[in-house]
Symmetry: C2
Subunit: 476 residues, 2 copies
Amino acid sequence: MKSWLEKRALLSPDQIGLYAGKSAWTFREMNEEATELAEKISPHIQNQSPVALLITNQPQSVFLIHALQKIRVPVLMLNNRLSQKEWQYQLKDSQAQLVIYQDQFVINTDRAISIDELKTGECWPYVPFEEEDVCSVMYTSGTTGNPKGVMQTYDNHFSSASGSAFNIGHRPDDIWMCAVPLFHISGYSILMRSVIYGIGVRLYEKFDERSIHADLVNGKGSIISVVTTMLERLLDVKNERYHSFFRCMILGGGPAPLHMVERCHDEHIPVFQSYGMTETASQFTTLSPADATRKTGASGKPLFPGEIKITDEQGEGCDDYVIGEILVKGPSVTKGYLNNPSATQEAFSEGWLKTGDVGYLDEEGFLFVADRRSDLIISGGENVYPAEVESVLSGHPAVKEAGVVGKKDDRWGEVPAAFIVLIEEVEKETLHNFVSKRLAGYKVPKMYRFVNELPRNAAGKLVRRKLKEEINHESV
Amino acid sequence: MKSWLEKRALLSPDQIGLYAGKSAWTFREMNEEATELAEKISPHIQNQSPVALLITNQPQSVFLIHALQKIRVPVLMLNNRLSQKEWQYQLKDSQAQLVIYQDQFVINTDRAISIDELKTGECWPYVPFEEEDVCSVMYTSGTTGNPKGVMQTYDNHFSSASGSAFNIGHRPDDIWMCAVPLFHISGYSILMRSVIYGIGVRLYEKFDERSIHADLVNGKGSIISVVTTMLERLLDVKNERYHSFFRCMILGGGPAPLHMVERCHDEHIPVFQSYGMTETASQFTTLSPADATRKTGASGKPLFPGEIKITDEQGEGCDDYVIGEILVKGPSVTKGYLNNPSATQEAFSEGWLKTGDVGYLDEEGFLFVADRRSDLIISGGENVYPAEVESVLSGHPAVKEAGVVGKKDDRWGEVPAAFIVLIEEVEKETLHNFVSKRLAGYKVPKMYRFVNELPRNAAGKLVRRKLKEEINHESV
C-alpha cells in the first residue's frame, strides 16, 4: 500500500487536514510537507529498525510521523517528559537506528539528529507497506521488569479508527481537537483517524483550558479527546454552552468521578467515558452519554468487533458481576512487544491479551473496571507503575525496600507517594533528587514516609492496597 | 470472534436491525431468530464446506445468513434465477455439503433441505471465527472457462463496510434500503454493514418503483443501493421530492447514461456512481454527487484504503489518460477462487487483482471505465458473460460457432444477442429452448442471427466489438 497520507491526499486533496494556531494545511499540502521530510530523512535510514521521535505537539511533528510512514520505518514515539535514562533504555531496547528531535530537547546519543539539521536529500526507494506491518512503537511499564515496546500495526490503527467511527458516527466535516500528546496513543490515534476518515485535526501545543473552552464555544471542533484532569479544568472555566457543531468528548486515562459525570450531563456535554491502553491502539470500550447516568461507574462496551472476557485466577470465565482479570481480543489489539517474545507470550492466553486490570461485566455486557493493573497510578492522564518507582528507590544504598501508591490529588487525580524502609539514615531531599535524575517528573513521589516495615501477605508479597488506604484516609 | 450479529446484539440490543413490510426486528430479536435457526441447521453440518442458500429477499433469509455465520460455515449464495444445470455446477464445484431452500424452489440434489423441514435441533459447538476466514462464496463467470466461486472473507466485508462509511459518512440512525438481491454482493453487503455499523436494513422482496418511491418520499430510508435500470424506473415515477432523511443513492451495476446523471442533479437526488464487482466485496470506487457533473463518465476514486492501477499488455503502469487493464488492491479484495488455485494464480499479479476491465485514470486519480471485462453484458444489473452463452450455443449439434454481444435495450440497458454460424439448418426457437434449459432467463439471447462467418482478428480471436457495433447501429 501507499502511505495513508498519500492516499488521503489523492482522495481529498483540498480538504483541510490540519489546523494549528492560525495556520491550516490541506491534505495535499500535508503530503508535500511529509514528502519533503521523507526525502531528507531517507539518507539516514539503514534498515527497518524504528526511528525515534522526540517532539512536542507541533505541525512539524505531524509531518514527521507521516514522513516515516512514507519510508516505511516504524516510529518509536518517545514520551518527552521522561529522563535521559528512560530514553536510553527505550533506544537500546528497540534498537532504534535514529532519533529525530526538536531543538529544545537534549538527548545523549550519537544516533540523534535535530529536525533543523535534516538537509534536502534524495528520493527514497518506494517500499509499499502491508496492513500487518508495525506502524508505531510506544513503551509502557508493567507489574514487574523493564518497560516494554508495544507494537501497533497499521491494521491495529485502522481497526481502532473504524470501530470508533461505527460507535460515535462519522461526519465528513468533523474536526478532531488534539490537546493530548502525540507521543501517547490518545494523540497519535487522532492523526491516524484524520487520514483514514479524511477529517481535520486541530492541534494544540499544550492544554490550555481557556483557549480550548473558547474553541468549543466557537465551533472550532466537533470531537475532542481529554483525560479526567483536563475535563476538570474545562469545567472550572465553563461559562457558556458549547457550539452545536461539537458532538463528542472522548474521556480516557482513568475513571471519571461521579460528580463530574453528573455535571457534564447537566451542562449537556456529550461525554463518552472510555477504557483502553497503548496495547489496544486507543479506547477499547466506550460508554455513550445516553448510558452514562444509567450505568454509573461503567466503562461501556467494546468497539465493534472487539471482545472482552473476565477470567478468574485459573483462567476460567467469570459469571456476570464476578470480578476477575480483564482480557481483550480483536483487530485493534497489539500483536506483542518489540524484541520481547517472552513478555509477549506471557501477556497472551489463547489469542486474548491479559490486561492485568481487574473488573467485571454486568448482564448487559457493560464493563466495570474495579482496579487498574498492578496498582497503576494515573496522574494527570500519565501512567505511573509503582514497581518502576520502587525499583529505582531500592537502588539507593540507604533504602532497604520501598512501596509506592497513588495518593489522591485535586489537580492530578493521583500523585505517587512512597513508603520506605531504611538501612541507614538519609534525607528525603536526597532520595527525591536521586529519583528525579532517573525518572520523569510525574513519576517522582510527592511524599516520602519512613516506616519500619511494609505490609506483606502470607506469601511475602507487598500489599499496596493497605498503604493506599492508609494514605488516602489521612488525606480525606 | 463471536458472530457479528451476536456482537451487535450485545452492543445495540434494542436498536431496530431489520424492517420488512410492516414488521421490524431489533438486533436482539434477530439474534434470537438466527440462534434458533443455527440450532436447527447444526445437526446437518458435517464439516467446514459451504452451505448453499436458495432464497429470496425475505427476513428469514437474513436470519439464515446470520445463522450460518454463527456456526461458521461459509455460505454459498445461489443466484435464484439460474437454471438447474448452473446450480448443479456450483454445488459440485464448491463441494457444498447442504442446500437450504425456500419452498417455491425445486433443486435436484439429495443434499437439499427446505427451510420448513428444519427441526428444532441441538446446541452447536461454539467455533470462533477469524477475520481471514471465508464468510461467503458467490460465483461469477469470466472470459473463458467455467464459473468460479469468489471467496469473500470477513475481513473483505469489514473493510468494504469501513471504506464505504469513511466515504459517505456514518450516522447511527441510518436505514439502508435493500431492493437488490441478497444473493448478489450488492444485497449481501448491506446485511454485513447493518451489523457492523449497527444500523437498520429495510428489506424489499422485489423492486417495485412505486413503493420505493413512496418510502423515499416518506423518509423510510437514508441510503439505497440501486442499479441503472432501477434508477431509470424510479425517475419514471418520480413526482415528489425525496425526504431530507434520504442522503445517499449508491448506483452500481454498469455505467449511468449522462441524461440520467443530469436528471438526478436537477432533481437533487444524491447519486453516488460506483464501480465494483463480486471480487471486491461490493463497490470499490465511488463518485460523489459533488464530482458527478465535473467528472462526467467517471466512476470515482477508490474507497480508503483501496488502490487502483492501470497497466498495459506488458503489465507496465500506464500514464494518466492512457487506457489499459484495471487492477485493484486492498483489504476488500478477494483472496481468490474456491478450490481453484490456478484461476486464482491467473487472476493476480504481485498482489493486484486483474479485473479484466479496461479504463484509465485522469490526473486527479478519477477512474474512467472504458469497457467492462470480457465484453461483459450488464442486463438489468445482472452480469452476462458472452463466453458462457457462446459455449452453451456451441454445444448444440447444429451450431458451428457463436458470438454473443449486448444489444441496447430501453428497459434492461442491454440484452444478449447471438450471431451464429450453422453446420446444418435449425429453427431459432429450437436454439432458444436449448439455451433456456441450460442458462438463467436473463442470459438467454433475445435475438438470434445466422451469419456465414464471425469477425476474427489476425490471431483468429473473435472480435465481439464488431458484432456489437453492427447490432447497435441498426437499433439506433
